[in-house]
């Protein structure tokens, strides 16, 4: 795996909360200006976190976006401004098109956030998060992750050894399965012995992880919660209201809650970028001094 970015090094719990929060923000936003701002920011974030390679995926995203946007008016015919009609009078309305564009922006943002999530939350981080809730669950998860490649390896070994014998497809699979069953039971006994030898089950389990809460993590967590709540409060106050059907009516710049919500949202989504960029700048300055 490539080197971890500065954002990936913050505590997994904070990272997890952050990404879930970002998804929630996206999903609750149907205000077009906010929606596109979120899309833009998540895109920046995605490129920043996953590297420039992902720019290659942009055309595909654009196609998905077009298809999603254009298909909404096909299913939703309501709206005042009819652009054109087809199939003998079925209307294609401007309002539905706009609504579709905002919805697809939201959809794409969430997709990008999942991309970021995938990149950030490696298996060990997940174990860290859920192992806190149920320690044995965490151990089992870790053992499963150990066994999958271990078993895969053995399957490869057995099927290679079976090269010496020609056999039908059906008997090949049953033989492999039977050999794997025997082997895994045998291997399981050894693993169980090894666990017992190291004191498994002799009392309450302690918990160890390579992650710890640092000052930086607390700051990020605090900012995340603060900005998230700000957006939510503004939204309740009507700062992000938007109605598309039957005609478009959106909150504008004159509403103070809208301005605050927009700022908070952009700031929220900029957190990873800020962390990564400050780190890079710090390095640059340090190297200049040296």
């Amino acid at each position: 795996m490539s080197k971890e970015t500065a954002f990936a090094q913050i505590n997994p719990m904070v990272c997890f909360i952050y990404i879930i929060g970002a998804m929630a923000l996206c999903m609750f936003t149907i205000h077009p200006v906010a929606g596109f701002a979120v899309l833009f920011m998540t895109l920046l974030c995605y490129v920043n976190v996953c590297g420039r390679v992902v720019l290659k995926k942009l055309p595909l995203l654009l196609v998905v976006y077009m298809i999603l946007s254009l298909s909404n008016p096909v299913f939703n015919t309501r709206g005042e401004t009819i652009l054109f009609t087809y199939f003998g009078g079925r209307p294609f309305t401007l309002e539905a098109l706009c609504y579709g564009m905002v919805l697809s922006a939201m959809f794409i943002s969430v997709m990008l956030l999942f991309g970021i999530y995938n990149r950030m939350m490696t298996s060990e981080k997940l174990i860290y998060i859920f192992g806190g809730l149920a320690p044995n669950m965490g151990l089992i998860l870790s053992m499963v992750l150990r066994f999958v490649p271990h078993y895969g390896n053995q399957i490869k070994k057995i099927s290679m050894a079976r090269h010496i014998k020609e056999e039908g497809k059906y008997s090949k699979v049953t033989n492999l399965l039977s050999a794997m069953t025997t082997w895994s039971l045998e291997a399981g006994i050894v693993t169980a012995d090894s666990m017992k030898c190291r004191g498994y089950g002799c009392g309450k389990r302690g918990r160890f992880s390579i992650y710890s809460f640092k000052r930086k993590d607390i700051v990020v967590l605090f900012l995340t919660i603060l900005l998230f709540l700000t957006v939510m409060v503004c939204r309740v106050k009507g700062g992000l209201d938007a109605v598309f059907i039957p005609h478009i009516k959106i909150i504008g710049r004159d509403n103070i809650y809208f301005v605050i919500a927009m700022c908070a949202m952009v700031l929220y989504l900029a957190i990873p970028i800020v962390i990564n960029v400050t780190e890079a700048v710090k390095w640059y300055i340090l190297r200049l001094k040296a």
Binding site: K165, N175, G206
Partner: protein
């Protein structure tokens, strides 16, 4: 201070009349390094398992075991988990979790330590064992040697007073094995941890041990310092002499009144002392006139094979060529990760080289149909015999491979040859490692191959079984054998031709004697011990013969 005291311990497994352990009396002092050796099936593992309560086998038992003066049975689980560490044979199956750091912490987590304690101890262990570089890796990315070192480190993290190792290096290549054993010695010297180990690479552990215990059929037949144990075995004329380190074997073979040498260094000065005042009558053995390898009829002919695993990977084979003459035993030796096994796989068509050609029996391998190739022609004995087993009994296992009308009689004849007849109704996983190896060999041979490929066949075998294995191979007339091996001593004794594999290709090929007498590092202990006296002695027998002639 006495650590373990075993008093009159006898044990037999359920449904078995035979005593697996027979009246064992042994006292182990604190900080001692004890090696237990014996043939496979002599009860070594059973004895070790008795020293660790959670894995003590059930059965009929008499006698008692004291740990620190108190009966072992009364010790509570938690204390024994941390006080007695146990490293097993198989490096893979002992690993529980998916990450190196988690594995290191596993024992401490079980003991219920708090995070900060675990953090410190894990850090300590990772530094002591040099694990920092792969601390964050997944365990399946590690090499066998690293895995076993991880197992050791994760047990040492609990700070045991005793470390018990059950043939810890049997699945490792020689370099990893020697690293591992050196780490054990370091632990013993620097931390004063008591070490109790079974091992069949006596060459490596004999000189490091304080005491050696030799077992046979559940009894201790000799126990004492390495030198006196050798003496004792010689006096009893026991077969175990064949397992002693090379210098000791030569010493007893020649018969001398000087001090018995244990290491190669001592062996060299012993030779010097013995032959110093004599003029050497003969300093070389006659070379057998072998035909030029290139003029013989080839069974396998591979020319400039190039292979890589993925499009963007590095080349593993870089123009590797080989010519294996019909009816010969051809060995390829070389370091780890040089591509030896891949070479073997491309010869039998499991890997497809992207350039170069392979001819089996004079016919291009691509012209063979798969069933034609593997029926009565080519067979591969994999490294791990267990990967060949798919049936419930050894008999079914063998029957699966036999074909034709006289299936039954073929199987019986093969079982006789490989000494499997009494085991035919056992489950292939219930027999010992050496027996599994024999079953795998029998199974492969039942396909009646003309060419047999073997990947590390002697891995995990003890010295006696190696001799037996070599005997079986010698009896297979008209079969061409190509083996890839780390086992220099085995190749020197039994191979007709030896090649050195390095960096994706064969560097040099020669007859075994010329090959090993020409090398100065990559050669047998007998050769290293005697090269300043004799020109081309590579096996113990060679040195003994030359010594006798010159005395």
């Amino acid at each position: 201070m006495v650590h373990f005291e075993i008093k009159g311990l006898s044990f037999s497994y359920p449904n078995s009349e035979k005593k697996a352990l027979d009246n064992i009396n042994l006292t182990i002092k604190k900080g001692e390094y004890i090696t237990i050796c014996g043939r496979s099936g002599s009860g070594k593992t059973t004895l070790l398992k008795h020293l660790k309560k959670p894995i003590t086998p059930s059965g009929k038992r008499t006698g008692e075991i004291l740990f620190d003066g108190a009966p072992l049975e009364e010790m509570d689980l938690k204390t024994q988990a941390s006080a007695i560490g146990y490293v097993m044979q198989n490096p893979d199956n002992q690993i529980v979790t998916d990450k190196v750091w988690h594995e290191l912490a596993f024992g401490l987590e079980s003991l219920g330590c708090d995070t900060n304690t675990i953090r410190l101890k894990v850090a300590e262990m990772a530094s002591y064992f040099g694990i920092q570089d792969w601390f964050h890796k997944n365990v399946n990315e590690l090499s066998g040697g690293q895995k076993q070192l991880l197992n050791l480190a994760s047990i040492m993290a609990m700070q045991p007073q005793v470390l018990i190792c059950d043939e810890p290096t049997s699945q490792l290549d020689p370099i990893a094995a020697s690293d591992f054993l050196q780490t054990i010695k370091k632990i013993n010297l620097e931390l004063g941890t008591t070490i109790i180990m079974t091992e069949h690479r006596l060459e490596e552990v004999f000189h490091a041990s304080d005491r050696v215990v030799v077992m046979e059929e559940g009894k201790i037949i000799a126990c004492g310092e390495p030198k006196t144990v050798g003496e004792e075995l010689k006096k009893q004329n026991n077969k175990m002499v064949a397992a002693l380190p090379t210098p000791m074997q030569i010493y007893y073979g020649v018969g001398s009144s000087l001090q018995c040498p244990i290491t190669v260094r001592e062996g060299r000065s012993w030779l010097d002392d013995m032959l110093s005042d004599k003029k050497l009558k003969r300093d070389r053995l006659p070379e057998q006139d072998s035909q030029d390898i290139n003029e013989q009829a080839p069974a396998i002919f591979a020319k400039e094979l190039w292979y890589r695993y993925g499009k963007n990977d590095k080349d593993v084979l870089k123009g590797a060529s080989v010519l294996v003459p019909k009816g010969s035993l051809y060995a390829i030796v070389g370091g780890n990760g040089t591509g030896k096994s891949t070479f073997l796989k491309s010869i039998c068509g499991i890997c497809r080289p992207y350039s170069g050609k392979v001819k089996i029996d004079g016919k291009n391998i691509t012209k063979y149909k798969s069933e034609e190739l593997f029926r009565n022609c080519l067979a591969l004995l994999p490294q791990d015999p267990q990967s060949l087993f798919v049936k419930k009994t050894v008999r079914e296992e063998l029957l699966e491979m036999a074909a034709g009308q006289n299936q039954e009689s073929d199987v019986m004849a093969m079982a006789e040859k490989c000494e499997l007849t009494p085991l035919l109704d056992r489950h292939p996983y219930d027999i010992s490692g050496g027996e599994q190896q024999r079953t795998a060999l029998a199974k492969v041979l039942l396909a009646k191959p003309k060419i047999l490929l073997m990947d590390e066949p002697t891995k995990g075998m003890d010295n006696f079984f190696k001799q037996e294995f070599a005997r079986i191979l010698k009896e297979l007339k008209d079969i061409t054998i190509l083996m890839v091996s780390h086992d220099i001593e085995f190749c020197a004794k039994y191979a007709d031709y030896v090649s050195m594999f390095f960096d994706g290709g064969i560097i040099t090929t020669n007859t075994a004697r010329r090959f090993f007498s020409g090398n100065s590092f990559y050669t047998t202990s007998a050769n290293r011990m005697s090269r300043h006296m004799f020109a081309n002695a590579v096996t113990e027998e060679d040195v003994i013969e030359l010594c006798r002639e010159n005395l």
